[in-house]
Each structure stands twice: as structure tokens, then as C-alpha cells.
């Protein structure tokens, strides 16, 4: 690519460049305000958090709110902060890895293998993609009522995911058949072909599905609201709402809790950003 940018505006003048930066900076600032407020507020005494514009003044900063949150949530009866986080991490891990396995396999079977009824099953998957989880939450809540407050039921419904299958499916379709033929000539069965050849080739798709699944799972709220009351199996976002509901509200601590809730995802995001963009792009653009 020459000096021309991809939007095709050649010979950028310094003034234009300055304008670009100005517009972007203003927008970015407005966009970042709530985030700044969150981080700043988490470091301020509670009565200064909700105090009009001076909520933005960096005064009396300390980590007191953080230690107060960790102290408040540190017993069997209230549950432990790190346990809430551990549960969220565990659920995310199980749903992401389990989902990568079964959904990629399913997509492979549906896109590359030939078997009777394949089209019918694929249509079924497309149809199920239309069923939002929300619309089966009520019957699931009733069906699995005796599983309340158990960990498996928090993860199981989310492992098989029609949208993930669809994403893998669109990616796998772009792989040239010649590659598999070569493997077949070497005597590899479909399983070996899948794990030894297809999976390594599909890193962007895996990354994209993994990160999307992680994001949705980490913020998962509705299902835990319905299924969990016991603090020993409560995931972090649900605890956030519990913590916020406790009277009298301590906004500094609530915001500190919020930072702790979002930090793990921010870290994941910071590390996997490139994968994310590539992955999302590849499945969406070709889809």
C-alpha cells in the first residue's frame, strides 16, 4: 500500500490530520467518560462519588473501597469475593472450551462430511439460532428447578451454541477441499483430519468464537438470577447486583466491585484484541 490510506484520501494535509485527531479525541473522551467515572469513583470515598461534577475530581484517592469490598465478602454466610470470581472464571472456562469442542465438531460434520439428513440437521441448527436463550429461560427454570444452586446447570445450557456452529460453519466452508483430499490419501479418517489439519488452520475462527463466548458468559446474568440463591455458587455479575442492592448503598465500594468485575475481561481483551478483530472479521465478512 502506498501513501494512500485504505479510505483513499491521498496527501493528507497537516490541518486535516489535526482535525481528524480532534474529532476522534472529543468522541473518545465522551465515550470514555463513564469508564473514567467508574475507575475514579472506585478510588474515592463514597460521599464524594455521587456529588455532581466534582465526582470527576481526583481527590482523596485510596484503595480503601477495594479492601472494604474484599473484607465485606469474606465469610461463609456472605460468600467470598474470590470464590464468586472463581465461579465466574470456571463457568467461562467450561463453556468456552466445551463450546469450542462440540460446536466446531458439529460445524465440521455439517460442512465437510457427507451424510444423510445433513441438510435437515443444518436447517434445524439455523432454526435454533433464532431461538434466543431468553425465550427458553422460563421452561428451563421450571424443568431444572431441582438443580437450583448447582454448578453444572449454570454451564450446561450454554455449551452447545447454534450461533457458534454457524460461525465455524462459515469459516470451514472457505477451506479448499483439496487439503482434506490430501489428508484422505494419506489415510487419515475424518477425526484425524479434523484435529490434525482443520483445527490448526482455523485459529481465527476459534479465537473469535472463544472470545465472543467468553464475553457473553462472563456477563451472564439472567440465568443465574433464576437459578442461584446460594452464595457459594453465585457468579460475579449476580453478586454485583446483590451487592448493589444492599442498604445503605456504598457507591464507592459498588464501583470498586465493578472495576474488579470488569478487570479480568479487560485483561483478556488487551491480550487477544488482534485475534478478536481478525476472528470477528473473518466470520462476519464472509458470512
Amino acid at each position: 500500500m502506498s501513501t494512500t490510506t485504505s479510505t483513499g484520501m491521498p496527501r493528507r494535509q497537516p490541518l486535516r490530520r489535526f482535525l481528524d485527531y480532534a474529532v476522534l479525541s472529543v468522541l473518545a473522551f465522551v465515550f470514555a467518560l463513564p469508564v473514567i467515572y467508574l475507575f475514579l469513583g472506585s478510588l474515592k470515598p463514597s460521599d464524594e462519588v455521587l456529588d455532581g461534577l466534582s465526582g470527576f475530581l481526583p481527590t482523596h484517592l485510596s484503595f480503601d473501597n477495594y479492601s472494604a469490598v474484599l473484607d465485606a465478602l469474606n465469610s461463609d454466610s456472605t460468600g467470598y469475593f474470590w470464590r464468586f470470581m472463581g465461579i465466574s472464571l470456571l463457568l467461562a472456562f467450561v463453556v468456552v472450551t466445551g463450546g469450542l469442542f462440540v460446536n466446531s465438531m458439529a460445524a465440521y460434520g455439517l460442512s465437510r462430511l457427507k451424510w444423510r439428513g445433513r441438510e435437515a440437521v443444518f436447517t434445524l441448527v439455523l432454526l435454533l439460532m433464532l431461538v434466543p436463550f431468553e425465550s427458553v429461560a422460563v421452561p428451563l427454570f421450571y424443568m431444572f428447578n431441582d438443580q437450583r444452586n448447582t454448578l453444572p446447570i449454570l454451564a450446561l445450557p450454554f455449551i452447545a451454541n447454534a450461533f457458534s456452529i454457524y460461525q465455524f460453519h462459515t469459516f470451514f466452508r472457505t477451506i479448499p477441499p483439496s487439503i482434506e483430499e490430501a489428508a484422505r490419501i494419506d489415510g487419515a479418517g475424518p477425526w484425524r483430519t479434523f484435529f490434525a489439519i482443520i483445527v490448526p488452520m482455523s485459529k481465527p475462527a476459534f479465537a473469535s468464537v472463544a472470545i465472543l463466548t467468553f464475553l457473553t458468559q462472563w456477563g451472564s446474568f439472567l440465568w443465574p438470577v433464576l437459578m442461584v440463591s446460594d452464595p457459594s455458587v453465585r457468579p460475579l455479575p449476580l453478586e454485583m447486583s446483590v451487592f448493589q442492592g444492599q442498604l445503605p448503598p456504598d457507591w464507592g465500594q459498588i464501583l470498586a466491585f465493578g472495576v474488579l468485575l470488569v478487570l479480568p475481561v479487560l485483561v483478556v481483551f488487551a491480550f487477544f484484541q488482534r485475534w478478536f478483530v481478525q476472528g470477528v472479521a473473518s466470520s462476519a465478512v464472509k458470512g
Binding site: 500500500m1 494512500t4 490510506t5 485504505s6 483513499g8 481528524d20 476522534l24 465515550f31 470514555a32 463513564p34 467515572y37 467508574l38 455521587l50 455532581g52 461534577l53 465526582g55 462440540v102 460446536n103 465438531m105 458439529a106 465440521y108 434445524l124 441448527v125 435454533l128 431461538v131 434466543p132 436463550f133 431468553e134 425465550s135 427458553v136 429461560a137 422460563v138 421450571y142 450446561l156 445450557p157 452447545a160 451454541n161 456452529i165 477425526w191 462472563w218 456477563g219 446474568f221 439472567l222 433464576l226 449476580l238 454485583m240 448493589q244 442492592g245 457507591w251 464501583l255 468485575l261 470488569v262 475481561v265 481483551f269 488487551a270 472479521a281 473473518s282 462476519a284 465478512v285 464472509k286
Partner: protein
């Protein structure tokens, strides 16, 4: 090979959905000592003809629709604007991209809490206080979340803030796939920037744009978390923001009325499917893949 996932989908989506259909024909309560009794279409009759129930229910449908009709074009348009702005070779452009994307990783339960403070109805609320400052004290405290007119707008704003980065990233990727030569050619033809946008950019990302719009509209029908958190603890006007999903969940969980909640679920599902099918009809012809 497709077995496990398909089995999972049937067990956790297919069967529950069929079950919802069955339950919607019963008078069934959670934890009640009474046996469920067959109710025929009574639940549906109430939803559509009993004014006490159909009122909130139809209002919820309308709220969902309002949300979708506003959010889909707004969020898609904003995402496209941001994507175009960010599709440049400037220094630190990656930083800007990350900034706009950042809210996407925020769980909705947290987003709701942050905005609850920003929109707080006292004059200590961030927005009220800012408006007061720019109007030199002429702005009284306004109840953004509690007022029937602004409650839904508040939900929309915080939802778009949280979600727009996602669509932006997808569109950005779409933009980057447009060959630079096309712009160079357009440049040679002395095409104005608008003409370039109209005849090079838009056709180049048409498929992506359609995908994004569809994704947004499906998502916008599922609004629940932010409404739930803000109604329970933030003084949000319930009538003006109640969504169908909120209605279903509170009917099931707060009132233990599983039969009624199932009927709401079924109607909700039919509407989502119908809308999706219509949408596909409309966008398909030009978008054969």
C-alpha cells in the same frame, strides 16, 4: 461428529421450547400444592383480551419494538461512522479503536449501575450536574430514568454505548477488505468524498452491513439485564421500559405463574422468528452468498 452439539441444542433449546408450548396451555404455578390444570387458550386470551394483562404485555411489545426501531439504525449508523473515522493510518489509531471497543467487554449488570449514577435524579447526578453547569444554574434536577418519556431513551443510550464498539469492529474489518485501488480509481474519476462513500464504500461493505443490522436487531429483542437491574434498584419507570423478556421473567419468578410466563415466551418467540424471516426475505435477493 455433530452429535454432541446437536444433542445439547435439542436438550436445552428444542425440548424446553416445546415444553413452553405445553405449559402455556396449563394453569401451573411454581411450588403450589395444587395440581396443574388444563387451561386451554386461557393464558393467551388473557394476554390479548384481558385489559389488565394485555395492557402491560402489549406495552412491553411496543417497548421492544421502539427499542429495536431506534437502536438498529442508530447503532449501525454510529458504528459505521466510527468505523470510517477509525479506518485511517494515523498514529495511535489502535488506541482509539480499543477505546471505542472497550465498553463491549463491560457486563450489562455493571453498565446499568454506572449509568444509574450518571442519570441519578437528584441534582447530584452527573448528567443533571453537567447540564446545570453549562446552563449556568438554569437546569433543575431531572428524573431521567423515572420519567416515562426519557426512561426508554436512557436505556437506549446506555445500550448503544455498551454495544456500538462491537458492530464497529465488524464494519471496520469490512472496510479494510475494500481494495484501495477502487478508491484510487474513484479519485482519478474526480469522485467527491460522498460519491466515493456512496459508490465504493457502501457496495463494498453491503454484506457486512446487512450482517451487522441483523445481529443488532436480534440482540435488541433480547433486552433484559439493564432493565432488570435498573427497575430493581434504580428508580427506572417500569411501564415505559418493561420488555417482553422482563415481563416473562417477572411473571415466572416473582409471581410463580409458569403457565402465563410460558405463553408470553411462546408469543415472543413467534414474533422474533417472524421478524427474522421477514428481514431475510427483504435482504436476501441482493445478498446471495
Amino acid at each position: 461428529m455433530s452429535g454432541p452439539a446437536v444433542a445439547g441444542l435439542i436438550a436445552f433449546v428444542g425440548i424446553p421450547f416445546c415444553y413452553a408450548v405445553v405449559l402455556s396451555f396449563y394453569n401451573v404455578r411454581l411450588g403450589s400444592p395444587l395440581e396443574p390444570t388444563f387451561f386451554g387458550v386461557e393464558q393467551y386470551r388473557r394476554l390479548f383480551t384481558d385489559p389488565d394483562l394485555s395492557g402491560p404485555f402489549l406495552r412491553a411489545l411496543l417497548n421492544n419494538l421502539t427499542f429495536a426501531v431506534v437502536v438498529v439504525p442508530l447503532q449501525t449508523g454510529l458504528a459505521l461512522g466510527l468505523a470510517i473515522l477509525l479506518n485511517r493510518k494515523l498514529k495511535a489509531i489502535g488506541l482509539f479503536r480499543s477505546l471505542f471497543f472497550m465498553p463491549v467487554v463491560f457486563p450489562m449488570a455493571l453498565v446499568a449501575v454506572i449509568w444509574r449514577l450518571i442519570l441519578a435524579r437528584s441534582d447530584q447526578g452527573m448528567l443533571n450536574s453537567a447540564l446545570d453547569a453549562v446552563s449556568f444554574g438554569h437546569w433543575g434536577a431531572f428524573d431521567w430514568l423515572g420519567d416515562g418519556l426519557t426512561a426508554m431513551a436512557s436505556i437506549i443510550v446506555l445500550s448503544v454505548w455498551q454495544g456500538v464498539g462491537f458492530q464497529m469492529v465488524i464494519l471496520l474489518a469490512g472496510l479494510q477488505q475494500i481494495p484501495g485501488e477502487l478508491y484510487e480509481a474513484a479519485e482519478l474519476d474526480r469522485a467527491s468524498r460522498w460519491q466515493q462513500f456512496r459508490h465504493v464504500t457502501l457496495p463494498g461493505i453491503r454484506g457486512t452491513l446487512v450482517f451487522v443490522a441483523m445481529l443488532t436487531s436480534v440482540l435488541s429483542f433480547r433486552v433484559f439485564d439493564q432493565v432488570y437491574v435498573l427497575v430493581k434498584g434504580g428508580g427506572l419507570d417500569e411501564d415505559a421500559t418493561r420488555t417482553v423478556m422482563y415481563q416473562a421473567v417477572t411473571t415466572a419468578f416473582d409471581q410463580n405463574n409458569i403457565g402465563q410466563a410460558s405463553a408470553i415466551t411462546v408469543v415472543f418467540f413467534l414474533i422474533v422468528v417472524a421478524l427474522t424471516l421477514i428481514q431475510r426475505r427483504v435482504v436476501r435477493p441482493g445478498n446471495e452468498d
